[in-house]
Symmetry: D3
Subunit: 172 residues, 6 copies
């Protein structure tokens, strides 16, 4: 197995068209449909990083900033921000374009965590990640903090053991 | 407008069948499809609480505990755990059943936040929530903490202002 | 195998959202789409009663009373009204809600018959049904009459042998 | 408006392929999916007869005789068996083919009733039907009886007024 | 195996309804959706001619002449225009109907080529075609020319070997 | 309007996962589904080049070289190979990946032609194309020949007027 990979190696782009069934009564895209597209792009990205089958483990920090409209082209960009033994945090950015009007804006970002599995659904190790750009380094460092939040909020880690997180609150 | 509602008043059940297209190469349900079903049940639930149109604002703490299989019946149960002026946190539990085998287990839970909007997509006020059962009271109280996590992680609140959250870490 | 079950034990609820592809040029829901949703809720209900796999055997008495509109929440409620050796008649009621307007009305009801099968598609016995409420008793009693109508209309029973049905017409 | 039409003028054929999502765990086609295809072919057929928009009014006598399998070609044939002022009874036959094996069999038939409507959803008159073949004459004559069954079972007609139906049971 | 078949023996009709998700922002049907419907009707047609499984080999000469609108009934008609050892050229005509307005027009035609395969995906021979009507004879004769165009354009045949095609250009 | 654009400016990538419903009885992807995906990526690409709405005008030279399997990731890459007043030829390459096995191969390529339209469906002018790489120059030059083939085969141009094409056959 490769020992480590850069986020560039797992970088994945997906383009989709917003069709009537993807929208609500006001003509805006449903959040649920976008959650599904993000899961697909993240799964392909996690496959590229791990060269194995993968399953979604958790979803966090999905915030819907701007409405996406019927007929828009939606571009999803994803890369593995940090790997932890058999799990990978994938950072996803979502852009909406109204091409005829020349408009393009960031409407959403999210963190999906996937686990690499073998053919009997058993977790397998994945390469480490080596961030290169400023954004990648930033996401790599924040990943530990986000992981502790997930574990503390799910009751799987005691607050006092979440050292990265604790440091945010306890300034002495 | 009604001043307040109980979680029971927004309680919503959805039953779905896992079809081939909902599954991956190992015959297990895709996370992304479940994220979409949870969005639908949460949207109906948020409509019931607010009696208005609603949009997804954020998704957090979705953890996939157990695999769901082809042919399973999936039951989603949702209620508004806490309302904040125009937004509502919805708590969702997901069960998978293999009815011929008599198996049923909790496979997933999640927190979705929706905002109530009027016909011009402007946020409108929603009733407060009055929890009744022990679980509802528990979710009501935790909602404040989860909200501060969302705001801190999204960079919209300073850690030192997240009083509920800070109390978890700073024990003096 | 359980000897008998109440309709309450097989009671199943499904909530769905009417999307653009479910509607015709006038913005009303297609009958065919609703027939499919009713088949799913009835199948889950028949599985619950029989604890086995099931297949649709016949559909009768589906009457579309009121139009359902784009954006409506549709609630389907189903229970086994009567079991006959390996077959089950399921009674389904369908409500449409326009939640922002506070409207809810019964738009449809129907009788679906399912047969319980084993893994080689052979019919297997199912528990008897013990109706409890007035509506359940009413549906239980009418089930024999509806069954005779199905058999007579399909040319599988002679009119003179349909005793329940005959009694409706021959009053002496 | 045309005063009358033959069943041949509304005759409609539809061919479909059974895909994985149309099937259950045993690889057989779901009843619900076929109910939807029958609704589409019947709607096109009713449009041809009435030259207007149409809505499903009721569904009866759908009996699933033989299982349909994954990969089968399904052929649906429909014609208006009888028109009553603004409503039309459509008779549908469904065949399954396994073309590589040279197998073809009738697996299903059904009666759908549609109502012709104008652009404000108001019922409009439709041409009468003039049956030509033996099967068409047979279906034309039975339509009155099936209509009385529908009305009696739905509680909209008293048994003693269902003259056609009564004649089946009362032989003196 | 049958030595030869007429186009009438493989003739296949498909009727579909144009739903919202099949249309773009201007309410006209997407080309891609029609390409998929044509592939299905052509596959059924090729199965009928060869009595075997089939796969799409190439698509050519699809020209979109007239827009198809939301709510239209689309009729696809296909027959095998010419067979070459294991491949079949299928000629498809597509009509759009606005039945309430009494409009019907040809909006599209296309040539799809399929290959007959056995259960190990190996190509198998198919019956020859014997055209009967004037249109069928015309399509049968043109098939050789279209085949040479495909091969020359794909770089699989030298222009000087495309005798049929060459004759079009070299008039001496 | 921009006077000219490079193929790089319209370059569009789409990644999709092959699901059960996209496959036939042998577990290989249907041609028709891929034709639809190619139409979507080509439409987005044509929108980028023209900054306007677009409609499919014709499809040619689609050849299915290699089978694509269930679970594969499919990558579609498209760019405008040449513009002609209001129409654009888009060249599409399709790759299939089995990521866990580390396999990736070209399985398909095609030429789609789109027309740019305004809000009243009237054709509008598009920028010229300036090819840069060797492949782009090659596709740019061949576009004229492919266009003449389309016109000659559709009977819209006389063979003797197809100068580019004629040159292929008439070598003196």
């Amino acid at each position: 197995m490769t020992i480590s990979k850069t986020p560039k190696e797992s970088f994945t782009i997906m383009n989709e068209l917003v069709l009537p069934n993807d929208t609500n009564a006001l003509g805006n895209m449903f959040g649920g449909r976008l959650l599904q597209w993000m899961d697909v792009v993240a799964a392909i990205c996690a496959q590229k990083h791990s060269n194995s089958n993968v399953v979604t483990a958790s979803v966090d920090g999905v915030s819907f900033k701007e409405a996406i409209h019927l007929g828009n082209v939606v571009t999803l960009e994803a890369y593995v921000s940090r790997a932890f033994s058999s799990s990978m945090e994938i950072y996803i950015k979502v852009y909406a374009h109204n091409i005829p009007r020349g408009e393009k804006y960031l409407c959403n970002d999210a963190y999906y965590t996937f686990v690499a599995i073998d053919s009997r659904s058993k977790a397998v190790s994945v390469p480490a990640t080596i961030p290169e750009t400023e954004e990648e380094i930033n996401k790599f460092e924040g990943a530990l903090r986000r992981r502790q939040v997930r574990l503390v909020m799910a009751g799987k880690m005691k607050p006092e053991d979440a050292s990265e997180l604790k440091a945010l609150f306890v300034v002495d």
